[in-house]
């Protein structure tokens, strides 16, 4: 057992140390407004209402100082003192995952984080347990929820992606927590792609978060500071620009000539230091976080030296080591290190750090890079990457892998290939698919060089998946086939590794075949995969084959197989096979929506989407959000549908998931009669062609047919291509629903000739002329638009009027007007009026958040209960409920409860 110190706890009790690493707060000039805002935030935290404040400004503007004074001014009720927790971020090459939180004793203990990561096999105290980022967030939330706390996180411009996730998690819940979240950063160091951007976006957007910008001192402010000296305030202001740190440095030694820069001012303070002592200062400057106390013996720094250096006023003791009081001072000293001297310094630091436990691979990587020690860079960067993956920071993991690859010196090809493969995986995890594919492809020649068929097969398999996620089916199928043939090639002994690669490749091919409705091929591939997996005792692979086969059966219309598919998902969950669980969910939800089992689909997605976020499975998160978009669209909740669709379409994402989002974002405006994105239907069409999957191609044709019907402009894609391809597409397994939808639209356009294929029941009813029965079917299924169109298909004007009314209620003004025009043309004079906007309740207009609230209202929850559920304040809950009632056009919550079924809220 090592005697790792819990830094937070002991620092406060050590006698001679300042517990606060910031410079003595002097009279803070021109910061009254900021101090008031901070004090208010802290007072509110005591009262149980949380808020956040971000302090920004250039280096030396006094961000730390103003936060320090806020603490000093805290007036705590004696019976419930607040905790004050500080974490900071360091200027490392690549940041430490969850860096600021590791330094905070209470949080680290509760979240199972050691002060530094304890080995690779598990986090401190939780051997073997893979702490998903979501669990971490929950634990940190628990710690902060019970007691009034002020949480300070400084220097966000150096923050890592995982910490940003935790902070955003807290920011979303902060209203209902007794927490004052105070952060600081330099705004000029946060560019567009910076990990902290989304958090800053939250600060700009959310009501309980605000941002303070520290301005330089005015001449008057400088005048007050230089009072009593012979310094000329105007000159000082001109030289320093009003930068508080710089001014303070100047004032400390007013008799010296004015330094031209901050650097000069800082170095002037070290002017009397001996060369040996100055080297110690340089060593502290070389450490990006702090010079750990425990390496002082190895570095030969004794106590008298520290006492001498104390006299410069440049250093302080914090976070278990020596650090400069200000980053500007650190940088000033760092610039004095001669170019040849830096590697030597870092090498010394590295050697000393390697002797203490536990190690921090991110810090060690930083020093190894500066020391030009390639072997160590590879070693520590790989460890740091693994740590980042545990913490859920994939962009940082990728950066570490890249660093390792850059420093890998003539490595064995298999080693290099393995690293590249892992980097490619991190690129996929951050939705950079084309880079992932490039990197995987780079491993192919390396595996061949190494004579490693299982590695090559695994690489081909990974490439197949990435190509599929990018929407390129042909390439995906080719890679999957290549993977299988390489793994099964004679001449290589059938080792476990190759057999496993073979089984995986066949399962991938089977999945691709299933998605295309090639059920016979899918069955064959899965059987082969299953056999190999069974022989190897590979439970997960075996279950994967079974799961795909169950999905095939459901797609083919076998209702009983759904229970089997669900069972397989549960088995996967019991074994902790997260990716398989999520794949199962994706297939299940998709099949449910396709086959119009909407309540079941809602149920699946309610559970599965949070799972994808919690377990960090991006492809499934995108896919399932797209499925939910389609579900909302079908159920007439168009605002929520567009919300989900836009989420999938923004950012690089996974093209595979974008098909329905394109259709939704094109069709909703069309139906509403507003302007929509012109290019989306075309994008959907091109994607569907590349994917070459009948249900998707049919869906695109349906959308094009709907547009043609609405605009009354002939479209050869509909009149020629759709009509010609329909019979063949309809014959594919699992296409009866999509084929029916297209057939009905073509019928409306008068383009449907014969029908030698099967369609699903509700479409059958329409094509047979049984419109009332069709409308009833859609009503039961909960699809108001389809129901309305079915009414409009009838000959009876009263039925058609009813359909138009339904369309108006939905907000489908465009479609309603088109139907009105049709009625007029048929000689009907009595047309239903367009309802006035104010009398219209519009359930279609509820956003996802409002849907959440509406469901809770339908269950009879009070505002307080809703607030607790959704981690918001009762006041915000009240606002949401009002908005919901307004959009639904209902007077009371009771009405929502009564109409819950009709509104589709259960």
């Amino acid at each position: 057992m090592t005697l790792a110190r819990r830094r937070g706890a002991t620092t406060e009790r050590l006698v001679a140390l300042p517990a606060w690493p910031y410079p003595e707060p002097v009279d803070l000039l021109e910061r009254d407004r900021e101090r008031a805002v901070l004090a208010a935030a802290i007072a509110r935290a005591h009262a149980g209402q949380g808020s956040g404040v971000a302090v920004t400004g250039e280096s030396g503007a006094g961000k730390s100082t103003v936060l320090a004074t806020a603490r000093a001014a805290m007036r705590e009720p004696a019976n419930a003192p607040a905790r004050f927790l500080i974490g900071s971020c360091d200027p490392l090459w690549t940041p430490r995952p969850l860096g600021p939180f590791r330094d905070i004793g209470e949080i680290a203990a509760a979240a199972g984080l050691g002060p530094l990561l304890h080995g690779l096999h598990g986090l401190d105290g939780l051997d073997g347990e893979d702490l998903a980022l979501a669990h971490l967030c929950e634990r940190i939330y628990e710690v902060l929820r019970d007691q009034a706390t002020v949480l300070v996180v400084e220097d966000l411009h150096w923050v890592d992606a995982a910490s940003v996730e935790v902070l955003r998690f807290l920011a979303r819940r902060i209203e209902a927590m007794p927490l004052a979240l105070l952060v600081s950063y330099r705004d000029d160091e946060i560019g567009p792609g910076h990990p902290a951007r989304p958090l800053l976006g939250d600060f700009a957007r959310l009501v309980s978060l605000s941002t303070l910008s520290l301005r330089p001192l005015s001449v008057d402010g400088v005048r007050t500071l230089v009072e009593g000296t012979s310094l000329d305030p105007e000159r000082v202001h001109a030289v320093t620009g009003g930068n508080p740190f710089f001014v303070a440095e100047v004032v400390k030694d007013p008799s010296r000539p004015l330094p031209a820069s901050v650097r000069d001012a800082v170095l002037a303070r070290a002017a009397d230091v001996t060369p040996e002592d100055f080297e110690v200062l340089q060593m502290v400057a070389a450490a990006p976080d702090r010079l750990d106390d425990r390496v002082l013996p190895a570095l030969g720094v004794d106590l008298p030296t520290l006492r001498r250096l104390d006299a410069t006023g440049l250093l302080t003791r914090a976070r278990g080591g020596l650090t400069f009081r200000h980053e500007l001072a650190r940088r000033a000293v760092e610039t004095t290190i001669p170019p040849g001297g830096a590697p030597r310094l870092h090498a010394r630091l590295l050697a000393a750090l390697e002797r203490i436990e536990p190690r921090d691979p991110a810090v060690l990587t930083h020093h190894a890079i500066a020391a030009h020690d390639g072997a160590r860079v590879v070693k520590y960067a790989t460890q740091a990457a693994r740590q980042a993956i545990y913490a859920g920071s994939h962009s940082e993991a990728a950066a570490f892998f890249e660093t390792a690859l850059d420093h890998q010196d003539a490595a064995a090809p298999a080693e290099r290939a393995a690293l590249l493969l892992r980097l490619a995986n991190e690129r996929y995890m951050t939705s950079r698919l084309s880079e992932a594919i490039t990197q995987v492809s780079a491993t192919f020649p390396l595996w061949r060089q190494a004579g490693d068929p299982s590695g090559l097969a695994a690489a081909y398999n990974a490439c197949a998946l990435y190509e599929y996620y990018a929407g390129r089916r042909r390439q995906a199928e080719a890679y999957a086939d290549r993977a299988a043939s390489v793994a099964a090639a004679p001449g290589h002994e059938l080792r476990d590794a190759t057999a496993r690669a073979y089984a995986t490749a066949r399962a991938t091919r089977g999945y691709l075949a299933y998605m295309r409705g090639e059920l016979a091929l899918a069955g064959q591939c899965c059987a082969e995969s299953g056999r190999a997996a069974d022989q190897l005792g590979q439970g997960e692979l075996a279950l994967r084959s079974q799961l795909i086969q169950a999905a095939c059966a459901v797609a083919d219309g076998d209702g009983d197989s759904r229970a089997l598919l669900v069972e397989h998902v549960e088995t996967a969950r019991a074994h902790g096979w997260d990716e398989l669980v999520s794949t199962g969910h994706s297939s299940l939800a998709n099949l449910d929506v396709e086959q119009r089992r909407h309540p079941e689909a809602e149920h699946v997605l309610a559970e599965s989407l949070p799972f994808t976020i919690e377990r960090d499975i991006p492809i499934c998160r995108h896919w399932q959000t797209a499925v939910r978009s389609r579900l909302h669209f079908a159920r007439g909740r168009w605002s929520a549908a567009v919300e989900d669709a836009e989420q999938v379409l923004e950012g690089p994402g996974m093209p595979l998931a974008t098909l329905w989002p394109y259709l939704v974002t094109a069709l909703v405006p069309l139906r509403r009669g507003t302007d929509g994105p012109e290019t989306h239907l075309d994008a959907a069409r091109r994607l569907a062609e590349q994917l070459d999957e009948p249900p998707r191609r049919l869906a695109v044709f349906s959308a094009l047919a709907e547009r043609m019907w609405m605009t009354e402009q002939p479209d050869p894609l509909v009149t020629e291509a759709a009509v010609a391809e329909l019979p063949e597409l309809a014959a594919a397994a699992g296409s009866v629903w999509a084929a029916g939808d297209l057939a009905v639209w073509l019928a409306r356009l008068g383009l449907l000739a014969e029908r030698p294929f099967l369609v699903a029941p509700p479409f059958q009813l329409t094509l047979d002329g049984q419109h009332e029965e069709a409308a009833a079917w859609w009503r039961r299924a909960g699809e108001p638009f389809a129901e309305a169109m079915a009414w409009c298909d009838a000959a009876d004007p009263a039925a058609r009027a009813r359909g138009i009314e339904l369309l108006d209620q939905l907000g489908a003004t465009g479609t309603a007007d088109r139907q009105r025009a049709a009625l007029r043309r048929d000689g009907v004079s009595q047309l239903p009026q367009r309802p006035r906007a104010s009398t219209r309740g519009n359930p279609a207009g509820l956003t996802n958040r409002q849907l959440d609230v509406a469901r809770l209202v339908a269950r009879g929850l009070t505002n307080a209960e809703i607030a607790t559920r959704l981690y918001i304040s009762p006041k915000t809950a009240d606002h949401h409920v009002s908005a919901v009632l307004g959009k639904l056009g209902l007077p009371t919550r009771r009405a929502v409860v009564v109409q819950a079924d009709e509104l589709g809220l259960v």
């Binding site: 057992m1 090592t2 005697l3 790792a4 110190r5 819990r6 706890a9 002991t10 009790r13 050590l14 006698v15 001679a16 140390l17 106390d293 425990r294 002082l296 013996p297 190895a298 030969g300 720094v301 004794d302 106590l303 008298p304 030296t305 520290l306 003791r317 278990g320 203490i356």
Partner: protein
């Protein structure tokens, strides 16, 4: 040089093996050597959840510095005001009616 008693809260200290104690001792000695001031680690006593250490140093600051360098907690540092033992009894004033001290 004053003596100090240092209390170090370490849950499970009583379970430390001899090997672990040897490593800790080496770390402590290295820390002492690195201080560059007069300093003596006299002895340490291990209980279930706490280690009591007796050190000689010029001031408490040196004690804390040693603790930092070794990575040890120092939850309480107390100056030894005085020491006594069985032998101290011999210095007690002899009362008139007291029996002669036994040898």
């Amino acid at each position: 040089m004053p003596r100090f008693v240092i209390e170090r809260d370490i849950p499970g200290a009583g379970n430390l093996t001899q090997e672990e104690l040897a490593t800790i001792a080496q770390t402590s000695r290295d820390a002492v050597a690195s201080l560059g001031v007069p300093y003596t680690w006299v002895n340490s006593y291990v209980t279930d959840d706490r280690i009591y250490c007796v050190h000689e140093a010029d001031d408490a600051e040196s004690i804390l510095e040693h603790a930092r360098r070794g990575g040890f907690p120092a939850n309480r540092v107390s100056v030894v005001a005085n020491e006594f033992g069985p032998h101290t009894a011999e210095l007690a004033p002899v009362a008139a009616s007291a029996p002669a001290p036994a040898r």
